[in-house]
């Protein structure tokens, strides 16, 4: 059964159903959304077909500019933190004995499946003034009086990092587990301390994966919708929050659609940048 080109029309059957489903229920909705972004808003209702750029023009306002910058900065911070913690963790994880690896993987998968709502709820409790960590710290003498750390920027960051971390590890996992262990050993026999070997041999060997993971986690954090609302104040709301706010509560579908389209373009731009950066590396 070699790989071959499709010849008879029946060869195309396996892909017909997936293509049809995906076109009907993703491409078409996406297309409609793009179209709606050019429509005019109707007061009290949804929208009416038209062609106007006014929705996109609202982007140029300072307010939305600030939200955009905040969203991007927040996503970048979350991705950076997840990588800084996640990369050494995943590397060590893949060197563990098998049954500990499996145990950790199950734990990470369990955390991954925690609903965003619950993560928000749990962290808002942990960082509250009446029932959280600060009470614990006061009890053991580390702090003088309990503080409310939520809602706040730190709380949003903590919640997002918590949510994105298992995802980061699972994306890094294949590359690190396939890494030839002899590379690190060779570095050690050549005189590099374990830390130096990690920085000069292991990290460069997985360079492409690191960039790809950063992008993936960045886009993931960009999509944060619930956590900024539960753990943050309105000034911490991201673009995704605004999209739903406009769509549902302000009944301004065209504007929401325009922001959504913008989010997509931003994500695609990032992916394209990653590919470009990849290509500039000397071929190995």
């Amino acid at each position: 059964m070699r790989r071959s080109r499709p010849e008879k029309w029946s060869d195309y059957l396996p892909i017909a159903y997936p293509a049809a489903m995906l076109t009907a229920f993703f491409v078409v909705p996406f297309g409609i959304m793009v179209a709606v972004s050019f429509f005019e808003r109707v007061q009290g209702g949804f929208y009416q077909p038209a062609f106007t750029l006014s929705n996109y023009a609202r982007f140029l306002s300072v307010f939305f500019g600030e939200v955009l910058v905040f969203s991007l900065a927040l996503a970048g911070a979350v991705s950076a933190i997840c990588l800084i913690v996640g990369v050494p963790f995943t590397y060590r994880l893949t060197r563990l004995a098998r049954r500990y690896q499996v145990a950790w993987l199950i734990v990470l998968l369990g955390v991954l499946s925690l609903s965003e709502v619950i993560i928000g709820f749990a962290w808002s409790t942990l960082l509250s003034r009446t029932a959280g960590l600060s009470n614990l710290f006061v009890a053991i003498g580390l702090m003088e009086s309990p503080q409310a750390w939520s809602p706040g920027l730190g709380a949003v960051l903590t919640g997002l990092v918590y949510q994105a971390f298992p995802y980061t590890v699972l994306v890094l996992y294949p590359s690190f587990s396939r890494l030839n262990p002899a590379l690190m050993e060779a570095a050690r026999t050549l005189g590099a301390s374990p830390l130096r070997g990690f920085l000069t041999v292991v990290l460069p060997a997985v360079r492409r994966t690191l960039v790809a993971t950063f992008i993936i986690v960045f886009i993931f954090a960009l999509g944060a919708y619930l956590l900024p609302q539960i753990l943050g104040r309105p000034r911490h709301w991201t673009l995704s929050v605004l999209v739903t706010d406009q769509a549902i509560y302000q009944s301004n579908m065209p504007f929401a659609a325009a922001m959504a389209v913008f989010l997509v373009l931003a994500s695609l731009l990032l992916v394209a940048l990653a590919q470009l950066a990849d290509r500039k590396e000397p071929a190995l």
């Binding site: 059964m1 070699r2 790989r3 071959s4 080109r5 499709p6 060869d11 396996p14 892909i15 159903y17 997936p18 995906l22 229920f25 993703f26 078409v28 909705p29 409609i32 959304m33 913690v85 963790f89 060590r92 893949t94 499996v102 993987l105 199950i106 369990g110 991954l112 499946s113 925690l114 609903s115 965003e116 709502v117 619950i118 928000g120 709820f121 409790t125 942990l126 029932a131 918590y162 298992p166 294949p174 587990s177 396939r178 030839n180 993936i216 886009i219 999509g223 919708y225 619930l226 539960i230 995704s240 999209v243 739903t244 769509a247 549902i248 929401a256 659609a257 959504a260 989010l263 997509v264």
Partner: protein
């Protein structure tokens, strides 16, 4: 591992465990208030998920939607992965990208797209719309796992089968399918668990007509707190751990997630 390494892992384990400890504790509170540590212990909230009609309905909705949606995801992913593996067809990559796109892009995009689509189609709010939208949304999970599964098939094994007299259909049934079955199962498991916990697509499509567990929890958070929401979250984490534990027990979890299998590689 050095003691520094151990401390690092321990700190991380603590970080990951804290929220779960909190919700488990909150769920045990005797009274219907949000206090931690719990004052007075009661297991009634764990039971109320099954006893309270509203919560039970939400649970049923979530489970049924998750099962059907995961089935749809798998039904789309398997033929697509098969086609990509079997055929040389560069244009098919486009279909693959479309399959993966909903998951890579911010979820609010898919949710909004679904909203406008179903509104335009006139089916907005119908309960089956979320099944289809979830099914599309989670295609990338079984697609990734099943593609990984196909990639592990050594074509020499198929050639050996051919020399022994097996035609394509027999090869598929007796060799290929058994080899990718664990990947299909794990893809289904991922999609199922994630659908159970998914909020925004469900909210935007059917949030006003029915409640899934995440929707109900969010509403409870805003309007009427009850420890039941914490209890159900603990249960869902338990389900996830159990499901993945089973996958690990009967399969090779590291391999399913992309590692070489034991003794393979390099």
């Amino acid at each position: 591992m050095t003691w520094l390494g151990r401390a690092f892992f321990a700190a991380l384990a603590l970080f990951l465990a804290l929220p779960i400890v909190v919700i488990a504790g909150v769920a045990l509170n005797a009274r219907k208030t949000l206090t931690f540590p719990p004052q007075g212990l009661s297991a009634e909230w764990y039971l109320s998920v099954f006893v309270d009609p509203d919560w039970r309905a939400a649970l049923m909705h979530s489970v049924v939607i998750a099962a059907l949606a995961a089935a749809i995801s798998v039904s789309i992913a398997v033929p697509l992965a098969w086609f990509l593996w079997r055929r040389i067809a560069p244009w098919a990559r486009i279909v693959q990208v479309i399959g993966v796109a909903p998951f890579i892009l911010p979820p609010v995009i898919t949710a909004l797209g679904a909203l406008t689509f179903w509104a335009t189609a006139g089916a907005y709010g119908q309960s089956w719309t979320v099944v289809i939208s979830h099914g599309i949304f989670f295609v990338s999970l079984p697609l990734v796992t099943v593609s990984l599964g196909f990639a592990t098939i050594d074509r020499e094994i198929l050639e050996a089968g051919t020399t022994m007299g097996a035609n394509d259909r027999i090869l598929f049934r007796t060799v290929i399918l058994p080899m990718i079955r664990p990947y299909i199962v794990s893809g289904f498991a991922f999609a199922f668990v994630l659908s159970l916990n998914e909020y925004i697509v469900a909210y935007m499509t059917v949030g006003f007509t029915l409640e899934t567990i995440p929707i109900k929890i969010f509403n409870a958070l805003r309007y009427g707190y009850t420890p039941t929401m914490a209890a159900v979250s603990v249960l869902f984490v338990g389900v996830a751990v159990m499901v993945f534990g089973l996958v690990a027990r009967f399969g090779d979890l590291p391999k399913l997630l992309g590692a070489w299998s034991k003794g393979e590689g390099q």
